[in-house]
């Protein structure tokens, strides 16, 4: 840890493709690296089909089966922060053009062959088509949407295989109306922009965060991962350094196409900053609220509900210029605060996202396993998944194996404090 403090965190992108990025993160604490992993998987908003109205369904699959499949289809969600509201923050009763996207699917088979209904048959309804149930004025969100916002990923792109929804035969028909909404993967994994995030450190298992079971020869039976080339292999007679800490983390972020990998990583970093900023704000605003009920500071409390772009805008200009009278950091002049200013200008900084408090709050989900447990590309279905616990040093879990005990670096202590 002390070592981490001296060195600046560093990142190196090894590969960048349309749907994935592979990078190495160095000189950060394992808890930091893991938080980045978690936030990319579970805290970044996208749009996904959330409500389905069935007009006709004469296919072999029941309605709820198809509704579920429709929900899992990735929809283009670029710039989701600004382009759409959360329904819960919207003024409408159920859904409107500001907080949802309407899609229809209308397919019937008239030939004597099996026909595939795929995501390519989903059409986004241009407003005025089906007609919304209530009249709502256009918000500024509409103007911020890209042309294909809310369309199924890869529609009309022959190089992308469409997603199969159902197969039908002659005389069968599927006619549904879908409402896609904005959400995050903590609510349902369908909103995760990542299909997999792999996270590995210590490929040689120097730190002994895992134990390999083996028959006769551990080296033969456990092939090294590709990342082992990045680090020097330990000598056979090398003594165990029990103070060593993991320094290098190998990430591969694979997206489902709803967001680009760059957007996922950058949004993830911003989201973490928002979380921290809200915590600082919560600490700051605690005392003043007691004596001066209300006041600016109190109103600046992350308003979970009410995505008020107007309010977010001033915050964008810099670190809490009006956030709280006391300003942000007690630690003025730390490298932190100066670097933060730069970042704020560049990436939008913290609390700049119009969604403000809305996205910022991530609650623990029931699914939460041990956070740093990573594992091989944890899957969308289990945002906090601790898959390959047995895995060969792939994201071997460390601190809080025990959810209930105070998390400790050695998971064995069931409820011991940990330092």
């Amino acid at each position: 840890m002390q070592v981490n403090d001296l060195l600046e965190p560093n990142v190196r992108i090894r590969e960048l493709k349309k749907d994935r990025v592979n990078f190495v993160l160095e000189n950060v604490d394992i808890s930091f690296a893991n938080s980045l992993r978690r936030v990319m998987m579970a805290d970044i908003p996208t749009v996904a089909i959330d409500m389905v109205e069935f007009d006709t369904n004469t296919t072999v699959l029941p309605d709820e089966f198809i509704a579920h499949r429709l929900g899992m289809i990735p929809l283009v969600s670029t710039n989701c922060d600004e382009a759409i509201r959360y329904s819960r923050d919207c003024t409408c009763l159920e859904s409107c053009q500001n907080c949802s996207i309407e899609l229809i699917l209308n397919v019937a088979c008239h030939e004597s062959r099996t026909m595939d209904i795929t995501s390519n048959h989903l059409d986004v309804v241009v407003r005025g088509g089906f007609g919304w149930r209530e009249e709502v004025d256009d918000g500024e969100e509409i103007a911020r949407r890209s042309e294909n916002f809310g369309h199924p990923v890869g529609k009309n792109d022959p190089s992308v295989q469409p997603v199969l929804i159902c197969k039908i035969r002659k005389g069968q028909e599927l006619r549904v109306r879908c409402i896609a909404k904005k959400g995050i993967a903590k609510e349902h994994a369908k909103w995760s922009p990542c299909s997999a995030v792999s996270f590995e450190y210590d490929p040689h298992n120097r730190l002994r965060h895992t134990t390999y079971w083996y028959e006769t020869d551990i080296k033969k039976e456990w092939p090294l991962s590709a990342n082992a080339a990045e680090e020097e292999a330990p000598l056979d007679d090398e003594p165990f350094d029990y103070n060593a800490k993991p320094q290098k983390f190998y990430f591969e972020v694979e997206t489902d196409g709803s967001l680009g990998p760059q957007e996922v990583v950058m949004k993830g970093l911003t989201e973490l900053q928002t979380k921290l900023a809200n915590l600082v704000l919560g600490l700051k605003t605690d005392p003043p609220e007691l004596d001066t009920l209300g006041g600016d500071a109190a109103t600046q409390l992350p308003p979970a509900n009410g995505t008020l772009p107007a309010q977010a805008a001033p915050r964008a200009t810099g670190w809490g210029q009006e956030a709280s009278p006391a300003g942000w950091g007690g630690a003025a002049g730390t490298p932190g605060s100066s670097a933060g200013g730069g970042g704020g200008g560049a990436g939008g900084g913290w609390g700049t996202s119009p969604t403000g408090g809305g996205t910022a709050w991530g609650g623990s989900s029931g699914s939460g396993a041990s956070p740093p447990a990573g594992g091989w590309g944890t899957n969308t279905a289990a945002p906090a998944g601790a898959w390959g616990a047995a895995g060969s040093g792939w994201g071997t879990g460390s601190p809080p194996r025990n959810n209930t005990g105070w998390s400790s670096p050695n998971p064995q202590t069931q409820s011991g404090w940990n330092v």
Binding site: L16, Q161, V280, G362, A384, T404
Partner: protein, 144 residues
Amino acid sequence: MNAPNAPNRYELYVLEEGEKPVEVSEDTKIPNAATIKVVKQDHTLANMVRGQLLSMPQVLFAGYKVPHPLHPYFLVKIQTDGTITPTAALEQACTKLIGTLSSLEAKFKREFSFKDVEGVTTEDAYGTSTTGPAWTSGRDYMDF
């Protein structure tokens, strides 16, 4: 779908109207110690903050727990050596982390821009997408 009386799932991560995000309660038995309850947050924030607190020389003890996986809050317990209060320590840790994140953000941005120039993104991201997947060929149980 959800049971009719099920709470909205976003209540796991969105503060309720007027809900305070943080509650500080000072420890009565240990000097310079406090337990801070952070509402509607999970391991993502908690573990990161704990890690940062432990790196601070003024902090004697820092640990966190999520008392129940269905209750969306966590507790951080902090004891300092008395030169700063636990709350101040937490605040410093957060500020430091924000700084680290911003510098990392800048580095990521630079790295991404380099990669854009190299034109790696134009590669076929989906591999052999022209050949159909296995399930389109042959009959399966749905045909019967």
